[in-house]
Structure formats: structure tokens, C-alpha cells
Amino acid sequence: MAEARQTVERPLSPHLFIYKPLINMVMSILHRLTGAALYFGTLLLAAWLLAASMGEGQFNYVNGLFAHPVGKLVLFGYTWALAQHMLGGIRHLIWDTGRGLQIWQVNTLSWLTLLCSIALTFAIWAVGLMFRGGF
């Protein structure tokens, strides 16, 4: 049962792209995408911590990369991915308890996830910029 050998071209069931994108479906896809992005993004944290442990030169080099416009954009995107995945995760934890599964509740929670993740991202950066004036 390890590998199903395909000898006949059988029709496949319709997949994602033929459906009208519903908000809960888009949130589900985003949850997986942001999860995968966060997975590889841990390299950013590892690089930052390792540089800090190596010395001032290395630390300033990595901080310089993060301070570059492209670096900032990556960090901003990473912040949003984190917020989106965390709020989406909380939504899933609510669903795990069997609550919030009416269609209108599913749609409301899904929209809330997206709106709050965007708001949270801007809030985090606003506070960060306020703190020191430059990231």
C-alpha cells in the first residue's frame, strides 16, 4: 500500500482553483502558507542570535541587513505572517472546542483573523518605531 501505481488516467476531483474563493478557504490556505514561511523564517532569528553571540562586528552586519529596505520589508512580512498564523491558530483552538462552527461564525472569525492580523502588524511596528526611531 506504499505507492499507488497509476496505470489508467482517471479523472481527478475538482481542486482549489475552480471554486470561488470563500473567506474561510482563503484563511485556510493563508494559514498553511504563513506556517511554511515562518518555518523558514526561523533562520532570521537564528542568524540574529548567532551574530549576537559571535561579536559586535557580526551583530552589526546582521542588523545592517535587517535595516536595509529589503530587510525591513522581509521583517514586516514576517511580522504579518506571525500575527496571521497566531490569530488563525487561536481560531482553530476555538473550533477545536466545537464552538464557532455556524457558517456566519466561521465567516466572522475568518474576517476578524485577517483584519486583526493586519492591525496587529501595524501596531507592533508603530510601537517599535516609537521606541527607538528606527528598526
Partner: protein, 126 residues
């Protein structure tokens, strides 16, 4: 159920052999990550633009280093479980799947070790 031995039934294991362990660990680390990542965001926001000496001194504090270490472990366990599901969903050839799962585990362990090493080095005097 008729085909299962009483022992298997007592253990509560299905055909996946590991029962709900994957699901449970994913949720356990998810809840932990809510708190630990909130801490990381707070830490990074307060360290925004800070110079090397400040960052080094801050990361060396036990009350900072310990939550950071917890975050690294919880976060990497969580992301390894998540990537496992993605691989199992999309990589259908058995051989490639096993290789991908191994590489994913190597990645998680390597990133985790780098982070833990760095935090400990800062804590124990670099």
C-alpha cells in the same frame, strides 16, 4: 473494532500507531507559542535600534534567556509537526516523502541548536 486486540484498544491507538499524539503536541505547543511569541515580539520591539552592548546584556539575563530557550524548543517542535503535515499532503512518492521528512527534521534540529547555543553562549559569558 472487531479486528483489534484488547491491548491495542486499551492503548487507544488507531492505524496511525501514534493515536492523537501529533494533534495533541501541535495544540500544546500552539498554546505555549501564543505566550512565548508575545514575549519575543515585546523583546524585539524594546530592542529595536539598540546597540550591541544593550542587546548582549539583555539576552544574557536569565529572565530573557529562559523564555527564549522555551520559545525555541516549543516553536521548532510546532513547526516541525506542521511541515510534516505539509510534506505528507503534497509529496506522494514514498521515497521522496521520507527524504523530505528527514530533511525537515534535520532543519528544525539544526536551527534549534544554533539558537540554543547562541543564547547559552551569551548567558554564560561570551
Amino acid at each position: 473494532m472487531a479486528h483489534r486486540t484488547p491491548l491495542a484498544r486499551v492503548r487507544g491507538l488507531g492505524s496511525a500507531k501514534t493515536g492523537a499524539e501529533h494533534f495533541w503536541r501541535q495544540r500544546l505547543t500552539a498554546v505555549a507559542n501564543i505566550f512565548l511569541l508575545s514575549f519575543l515580539i515585546w523583546l524585539l520591539v524594546t530592542l529595536a535600534g539598540a546597540d550591541y552592548a544593550t542587546v548582549k546584556a539583555t539576552l544574557a539575563k536569565p529572565q530573557i534567556a529562559i523564555p527564549l530557550l522555551l520559545l525555541v524548543v516549543s516553536g521548532l517542535v510546532h513547526m516541525r509537526l506542521g511541515m510534516q503535515v505539509i510534506i505528507e499532503d503534497y509529496v506522494h512518492s514514498e521515497g521522496r516523502k521520507v527524504v523530505a521528512l528527514m530533511l525537515s527534521s534535520f532543519f528544525a534540529v539544526a536551527v534549534g541548536l544554533v539558537c540554543v547555543f547562541a543564547v547559552l553562549k551569551l548567558s554564560f559569558g561570551a
